[in-house]
Symmetry: C3
Subunit: 463 residues, 3 copies
């Protein structure tokens, strides 16, 4: 049996029994997915997936990084300029290395998808690789395995995609035009037009101006362009923005300084410190706009993107070489929080890859500022131990209501139910532990469980 019904529940029999009851209550609740990276085309066009390798291996940076770390070449995975690999060969390579994923969340997610989505109950291995490939391929040809059908089968209530500020949201329009009633909403992600170090920054800003009908030659025009694009995203259902920054630094400069800084940045004359300062200022500006228009702001900080020059140069972005760095939010967020942190209109959700800030900074901050919420464990921490550490670390200082619920943050469609399943199980185990040690009453645990499973995400993201 690939999936044990008690997986991830505590070993102690009494605690397990309670955790099982808590989990049973939330296992089948609708999925609220307020932050993710599924391809909007899937929802707009509803295409069939090409083959198992393209579904499970190549685009999954967790999978690719593990294989590469143990000596598999990108070329063997069909990644690289002019590289064409037989998907069957990629799948076999994956099966031969499947043992590498023992103990990792990828293994839980993939086993879950193979079993629950594709009905395959034997663990992937070199021996059954071809049979599994064949079986999955057959199913992928079936309309029941197209994105919209899976959306419905997975019980998704709403899913948010992440879209650059320059996106025309054509696929979101296509969803609306199609008559399909799945709820898919965009998220405003302005990194490419607020980060002077982003490739093509100047051109991106010019395009922003064109799309918004604003003169980006001035600071006010540039800000206005953001406001109009945000309005457009809101008109298409967006309830949130997302900001990926190397650090959580914020700034709140006097208008004249910002204006001058903007001109240097736009002219390509900003040095590294000025680029950082501009990103910092833009977080505060975005927070101000959020306090006005109600878009929930998300800050993902602390990843050193594309760490290997060789991998980035040869194979491009998102190849598994984003590596976390130390972050500190306390001093960094003060300018933004002094500007709008007590404004009832602002909601800012904070994410970290540096777990040392959970107890030191994030729980104390979210447990004080009414505008702040703690995002769920992010990326490498979206895992059994990661979620456990998160709950152990933040609950005592921030409580449950200052957390933003779960989100799956994924571009791997079939992992969505798996990830929510893991999260609901670990949270059930956590709540059971609180009850067993008499830190919480049972009726309270049953009240909290559905909040963690979806309710908090729904309210945090104003969905």
């Amino acid at each position: 049996m690939l999936l044990h019904p008690d997986r991830l529940l505590p070993a102690d029999p009494d605690t397990r029994a309670l955790a099982r009851r808590l989990f049973a209550d939330v296992a089948h609740l609708p999925i609220v997915s307020p932050h993710g990276h599924t391809d909007p085309r899937w929802w707009g066009e509803n295409p069939a997936f090409a083959n198992p390798a393209e579904l499970f291996v190549t685009p999954d940076h967790y999978v690719v990084r593990m294989l590469v770390s143990q000596g598999v070449s990108y070329e063997a995975l069909g990644i690289g300029a002019g590289c064409e690999a037989d998907p069957r060969a990629i799948w076999r390579c994956f099966a031969e290395h499947y043992h590498l994923f023992r103990g990792t969340p990828s293994r839980l997610w993939i086993d879950h998808a193979l079993s629950e989505v594709f009905g395959l109950d034997a663990r992937l291995s070199p021996a059954n690789a071809d049979d599994h490939y064949h079986a999955i391929s057959e199913r992928l040809a079936d309309p029941a395995y197209r994105p919209r059908a899976l959306f419905e089968r997975f019980g998704i209530e709403v899913i948010a995609t992440t879209d650059t500020a320059l996106d025309d949201l054509a696929w979101h329009k296509a969803v609306r035009a199609s008559g399909w009633n799945g709820r898919v909403v965009p998220t405003y992600r302005p990194d490419s037009v607020v980060d002077p170090d982003f490739e093509g920054f100047r051109g991106n800003v010019e395009r922003l101006g064109e799309l918004a009908g604003c003169d980006i030659g001035t600071w006010q025009g540039y800000l206005e362009a953001h406001g109009r694009r945000r309005d457009f995203f809101r008109s298409m259902g967006a309830t949130a923005t997302d900001h990926g920054h190397p650090t959580p630094l914020t700034a709140d400069l006097p208008e004249a300084e910002i204006s001058a800084l903007y001109q240097r940045v736009l002219g390509g004359r900003a040095n590294a410190g000025e680029a950082e300062l501009f990103r910092a200022q833009m977080l505060t500006e975005m927070a101000r706009l959020s306090a006005q228009d109600g878009l929930v702001m998300q800050l993902h900080a602390g990843s050193f993107r594309n760490h290997s020059a060789h991998v980035f140069g040869t194979y491009g972005r998102d190849r598994g070489f984003d590596i976390p760095q130390p972050v500190s939010f306390t001093a960094a967020l003060k300018p933004l929080l002094d500007a709008v942190g007590m404004d009832p209109g602002l909601r800012l959700i904070l994410f970290t890859l540096d777990e040392s800030v959970y107890t030191r900074e994030l729980a104390p901050l979210a447990g004080a500022y009414p505008s702040l919420l703690l995002g769920p464990p992010w990326w490498f921490h979206d895992s059994f131990e990661g979620i456990r550490r998160y709950r152990d670390s933040v609950t005592e200082t921030a409580g449950f209501m200052n957390t933003a619920g779960f989100n799956d943050d994924t571009r791997a469609l079939c992992s969505i139910p798996a990830r929510h399943d893991v999260s609901r199980r670990v949270d059930s185990a956590f709540l059971a532990g609180l009850v067993m040690t008499h830190r919480l009453d049972e009726d309270e645990a049953f009240e909290i469980a559905p909040l963690l499973a979806g309710g908090l995400a729904r309210s945090a993201y104003r969905l």
Copy 2:
């Protein structure tokens, strides 16, 4: 039942049974409270508490911060210039939001106080808020609920207050004069006269000189003033000093440089770096004085005080907006430790809000220097998980004897027995776990438990 007799003990039945026996042995030991913030007036004057809101809500920054974080206004809590709120309304607001505290130590403490101190066995809720208010109010009018009676009922052997270097210790004198034999001792807290960034620093130093009869116009006179004030505190029973610094930086400059630095600081001409350097130097000076006069030195470092400019400006200090920052002790303490770290007269107890230093720095430091002890988990970490993480983290490198026992660090009188109860339970659970995994023999655990419950605090603080 509000308090389960097995609360906080491990879920595993055998481990729980042993933990229960260990806890039974220490549950009723006297309370040694060597570091706290109770109001000396309570002990000197023994007044009645005004009402439940004033006892449980308004002055408790843990409670206030959680309410504010979920949108309750300070005004609704009666906080703010000219703000007068009906204590009954504050109490109702608290009851309506009591669910926010699920999973937090505040909930454990308040439930404990309601049940053990006030005999109320139903969890606070909007439905019973008025009844509870009435019941508590009634009891507060009873002399058995005045501070000294509670002191005795709680089994407090000794309690230390925290007092500025400028305090006349009038309430401590009143205790002595009263004939009441509760042991209440002051603690020398010189932040306001060693930190150039403290409001009114210059005036504070002048007042220090007056009180001590020293000429603070010179560095030597200023140091001498500290010595005399420390002597005065010692004559009133003090055994310790306490130092709240933004960072643990220390310095040991040549006399001429210190003298010049002191003059700049006193003249208000010091920049931020010089102010930090002066604080750093003063830690070393205080350590030197401690090595001579035997006052145990406590260092609490790493809090960014009054983080929100708006909250600080409008509602003042201690409103729940002190947020931890990263700290590092290893290099920072070297100047002080090179000066007096091997001196048998010095005892320095270290506290942190940044748990990453437990295994990395504090346990290794305390496990080497004879002058150093580890303080218990501080502030946000005075909690079930916080104490567990502390023991798990520091014991293997520092052992038990390099830790300073428990202290409650509180201004909330009714939480004192609750906090010691939590600490004794978590420590019993920890010891039971060591025995069950055969890292410790049972007789050893029974020897250690009372040390953790009070013995280590008594000896660490020379009480």
Copy 3:
């Protein structure tokens, strides 16, 4: 009974039963010890150990630091210039303070050695100190307690020593010449010739040149000297190098800059920043050489050596006063990794004393770069909780195969089997926990256990 057969196994009965079966499978596997600090003379000359104090107390910096931290003087331990202490008195002092080690790994290791190596089944105490001393002394006179006999009795398959780049490896030659077939291999440790701050750096480099027959007056000659010494070490069986650096900073400067930097360093004209830069550059150079000659590179970073000026000045190195500091690998390693991180010839094993980098940096790095492996928990973290935290922290992101197995890192001969025993027990407990929560199948756990017990170390170190 000093050693319980179920020690360190989980308290939950079902989990314990499985952990016991897993442990039984690996308990008696040969010891692979790829990184340690045993004295090569022991293996070359096979002398008798002098007395219990010299075996267990004086050279063990874990033991010495704990005694000193609680007020025992170095002199009482026979440490200090011209200090001669009766080993019996040292042993008694140790016995009187043995309770200090409760809850520490030293206690586990020493109990294990007393029981398993010396057949003493009563815990050391003041009452039995003399008897134990006598019994151990008697055994030490027996040839069965000489190093080579213990090597065989402990089931050591291979042991690596750590040797400076200037070592003549005479004792390793003696092993080979002796006909004894224990496998003892050296490790190339060049700190004294790559760190400009090392005592006698210039003389050390000159000696390096003489030994290698190279002109160290030029950068190329100096590099060539390293290459030749590495070849010599390889000819004596070395498979690895070891690098102890204050920080993990690396650099990859243009040749002309390196050459100029080398001249400043060699001439004693480098400032602190340049010394750091030279160490940083040398890590990259060593990585390049490793990619060519196949020596596995080990980086141990983050210890502030000889923290107390007084202790260092009076009693010298390795007296228990090395204190960890914060480290960050992500940005620091980029120059080295950009140079050779994707080179299939390089293997670099990373060690840390700052556990906050496990999930934040080390697991993500080792889970991406094919050249990187995670070393086992180092030094203060080679302990029950340390190993548990390590597995909990790194497995989900790096899996098992990106870790380098266990090493004992010790100069205390009798602790070798004890340390491997602890590690195998904690790993068995960890694997049992994964199976009990259905994150791993039982057959998989039985496949992984022997890898953790020795297989991974064997392959990681190319032994």
